[in-house]
């Protein structure tokens, strides 16, 4: 058995580690590296190693059997060797397909980069040494079932994948894996606001709902011509009271009339200012805005934008 546990890579016999330019291109750059030898070994154990570097795979297998030592060094001690460059070069093998199964064999796959096909629910991965990592691309929608020991997922919940989602898994040994990263193809976060569902609720029933900072009602109104709302949230109707005077009615009332109202407007005419309508008091269920060309004349803006923040009833 070849012992490399205390030797630096640049001390290895050059006849057993051919310095192929393409494989070790990055080794000429001396930058600090602090890496676990396990990480190197998992890379070296792939079968798809460039010609001439096969000895490294054997070396890695022997070393793994011998120990689980760490390689902790700096560029100074490595001379001009950049280990990361070697890793990058050796990690080049093409992505391979692995069919989804209850226990999906990503550890035994012939590449670091794996595409999981099919829609079978995954509850576990195969057993490989601790520290082995796999980059996974999901080709289809399937369910990853969280397990606090054997398949640890962020947030502790199951994940429904979509085509194009990517993940990084790290083996913790004994058939246990942890998801280190997950990125959805559509950019949505894994946990949090996902566009259609929920934000963690605070407070009890009928009290403060959702995050206090978000707008509980907003609207964009075209105040010209046959006036109409362009878009809104929590608004049931708008009343056109007169020129430049509109009342926004809410579907879900605020808990009192002291919520915050922000008014802005755009007009092609001589809009001077917009405000909360002076002669119509805000209520828990409605708020009115006024828009003025001067102190004595109102104007209908092309855009009336209102935003209400506060606690709901």
């Amino acid at each position: 058995m070849m012992a490399i546990s205390t030797r630096r890579i640049d001390e290895l016999n050059p006849t057993t580690i051919p310095r192929r330019d393409h494989a070790f291109a990055g080794m000429r750059i001396g930058i600090a590296n602090r890496i676990r030898i396990e990480q190197i070994l998992s890379l070296l154990e792939t079968e798809d190693i460039p010609d001439g570097a096969v000895t490294l795979a054997k070396l890695a297998a022997d070393a793994r059997a011998a120990s689980n030592l760490t390689f902790d060094d700096t560029a100074a001690s490595l001379g001009e060797t950049n280990v990361q460059g070697a890793i990058d070069a050796l990690a080049a093998p093409a992505r391979v397909d692995v069919a989804s199964a209850a226990t999906t064999n990503i550890g035994a796959a012939d590449s670091l980069d794996i595409r999981i096909t099919g829609t079978t629910t995954i509850t576990a991965f195969d057993t490989v040494a601790e520290g082995v990592r796999r980059n996974v691309l999901f080709a289809d929608a399937l369910t990853l079932t969280h397990n606090a020991t054997s398949l640890i997922l962020p947030g502790g919940d199951d994940i429904t994948t979509a085509a194009g989602d990517v993940a990084l898994f790290r083996s913790e040994g004994s058939g246990n894996w942890r998801m280190v990263r997950y990125s959805r193809a559509d950019g949505r976060p894994l946990v949090g606001v996902d566009g259609t569902t929920t934000i963690t609720r605070t407070g009890g029933t009928n009290s403060t709902v959702l995050v206090r900072a978000i707008a509980k009602a907003w609207a964009n109104l075209n105040g010209t011509g046959t006036i109409a709302l362009r878009d809104s949230l929590n608004v049931s109707s708008v009343v056109d009271n007169e020129i430049g005077n509109y009342t926004f009615n809410f579907t879900n009332s605020f808990d009192a009339a002291d919520y915050s109202i922000t008014v802005s407007a755009r007009s092609v005419g001589s809009l001077n200012y917009s405000n909360i309508q002076a002669n119509i008091e805000p209520t828990a269920s409605s708020a009115s805005t006024g828009h003025f060309a001067s102190t004595t004349s109102n104007i209908d803006p092309v855009i009336v934008a209102v935003d209400m923040n506060g606690d709901l009833a």
Binding site: G195, T196, T197, T198, R201, T205, N206, V209, L210, K216, A219, T224, G225, T226, I227, A228, L229, D231, S232, L233, N234, V235, S236, S237, V238, V239, D240, N241, E242, I243, N249, T251, N252, S253, D255, A256, A257, D258, E281, T283, A284, S285, S286, D300, L312, A313
Partner: protein, 159 residues
Amino acid sequence: MNTNTHLWDRLAEARERLDPVQSKYRVVFEDPNEPDAPAKILVPDPNWMAAALAGGVLPPIDACLADAAKVAQWEQEHGTLEGFAWNKVGGASDPYAEPIGPMTEEEAIEYLIQKDIPERVWATDTNRPRFAIVPVEAIPNDRTHRMAWRLNDFERSAA
């Protein structure tokens, strides 16, 4: 324990899920408390209308009317709505209450009249009507004379 979704959450989800519906109706009304004011025009919100037509989002109109009665009672007792808060009047209707099913557009307009127009406009028997449901085409696009609009200008086109 009530397991329904909060009203605000239902509205937010409906907005994501449903295409907005611009109503083909408007409601023209005059407030007896403002005899010199021009006619007012109630414009349904497109997202609200989509939720009304789909069902499963909005609370029963009875809940809205009960809330309005509490507000009116407070205003009558205090002469103003300043200082009003739901916790001073026993709370608003339960936002987790079972939502109502789908409505037709006409039923939705009737719901909206009761919810968003003062009761003194629609619930009082008078010699002349104080509101009219009209097709949207009956509302002038030219607002030059907006401050002179009166209800009787629209009654002939009432839907």
